[in-house]
């Protein structure tokens, strides 16, 4: 009887396991199984980021639209109109007065942190108004004095600030014989003019019965 040929165990184990092979159909089945999952993963990952991306794009679009709207709104308004809008907006709030006085000198004494001196205007319309006080404010980002005027029970707001042409643009000057610009904002008439190197903006709101003055 022929004696079996012996080899080292390690080699025999390797040989034995080398003979163990899957057939083509088994390979194909396993590859198909993995490929299907690969496609599913891609689909899943797509479906997971698509809603996020859509939400992000929607958010971006909303923000962009909002900013564009604000930008276009500001740009569509002329500078006098923007001044009038800001003046009326603050006029309607009637924020508490920081100084209560009927004297322009006392007002000047209070507004000592301004880069300009509040002055009386020569505009005739102001002749009927009585000064009752004021507060620090700003107009288009420039520090201003917000003065409150009274005519009977009717309150008006007068803004005075340094006239900066680069900011406020070309405005009518009383000294040149030009009439104030008349602009309506939120239903309230606003006169805007330049006088003595200052920009003036005066509301001319209709009389309001029963409106309580919030003067702090």
């Amino acid at each position: 009887m022929k004696k079996p040929f012996k080899r080292p165990l390690k080699q025999q184990v390797q040989n034995h396991l080398d003979q163990v092979q899957m057939d083509t159909s088994q390979f194909t089945a396993l590859e198909k199984l993995m490929a299907n999952n690969e496609q599913k993963e891609k689909k899943d990952s797509r479906s997971s980021w698509v809603p996020l991306a859509a939400a992000g794009m929607f958010f971006f679009a909303v923000i962009t639209a909002f900013m564009a709207l604000q930008f276009s709104k500001d740009n569509l308004l002329t500078m006098p109109q923007q001044i009038a809008e800001e003046v009326v907006s603050n006029h309607l709030k009637l924020k508490p007065l920081e100084v209560k006085t009927g004297s322009i000198d006392a007002v000047r004494g209070y507004f000592n942190k301004l880069d300009f001196m509040p002055v009386e205007s020569s505009l005739q319309a102001l002749g009927n108004l009585q000064l009752i006080g004021g507060r620090y404010c700003s107009l288009q980002g420039i520090t201003a004095a917000q003065l409150r005027m009274k005519q009977g029970k009717n309150l008006q707001t007068l803004y005075e600030t340094e006239y900066v042409p680069a900011v406020f643009g070309d405005l009518p000057s009383l000294e040149k014989g030009e009439a104030p610009l008349v602009i309506y904002a939120k239903g309230i008439k606003v006169k805007v003019w330049v006088e003595k190197g200052l920009l003036f903006a005066l509301t001319d709101s209709p009389a309001v019965t029963g409106r309580k003055e919030n003067d702090g």
Partner: protein, 159 residues
């Protein structure tokens, strides 16, 4: 993650090492791939290692269901005199190994697989199988003895 045929073949051989049956090996591998499909792995090596763990755990579960998996039945403190390379000088005929393969305990087949196919040393095998080095050496000692006895018995026509 998709694997190439070489990797699949390797996994299949490991499955066969556990089951000692080609049909069972295929089922075990198929099942492991199904289970591990959704596991994200950055490299093929990690994915292969993961599939191997799945197969092993699944096999042990099924094995335990039928009989106790002979994993911890060797006395870790039994005297071990041989070195880690004690299988190196064992020689065996191809036919004898084929016959004995099914009778060897699954854990011992794993030892042979990692030693002969993966080229791991004893320390690496003990880490892989999560058994102590002493246990592994005892197991190798018994395996070596058993292989010799079985081959001798076969040569004498007793098996």
């Amino acid at each position: 993650m998709e694997l190439d045929r070489t990797s699949l073949e390797k996994l299949y051989r490991y499955a066969y090492t556990l089951t000692a049956n080609q049909a069972d090996a295929y089922d075990l591998l198929h099942n492991a791939i199904e289970t591990g499909l959704n596991r994200p792995s950055d490299t093929a090596e990690k994915y292969i290692a993961y599939l191997r763990v799945i197969m092993r755990n699944r096999f042990i579960d099924e094995y335990r269901h039928n009989q106790s998996f002979p994993h911890e039945d060797i006395d870790d403190h039994s005297p071990v005199s041989m070195s880690g390379s004690s299988l190196e000088d064992v020689v065996i005929a191809s036919h004898d190994l084929s016959v004995l393969w099914k009778t060897i305990e699954p854990v011992d087949r794993e030892v042979l697989y990692f030693w002969a196919v993966e080229g791991l040393n004893m320390r690496e095998i003990s880490e892989k199988l999560e058994i102590s080095r002493g246990t592994l050496l005892s197991r190798i000692h018994r395996l070596r003895k058993r292989l010799s006895e079985n081959v001798n018995d076969r040569q004498r026509g007793q098996v």
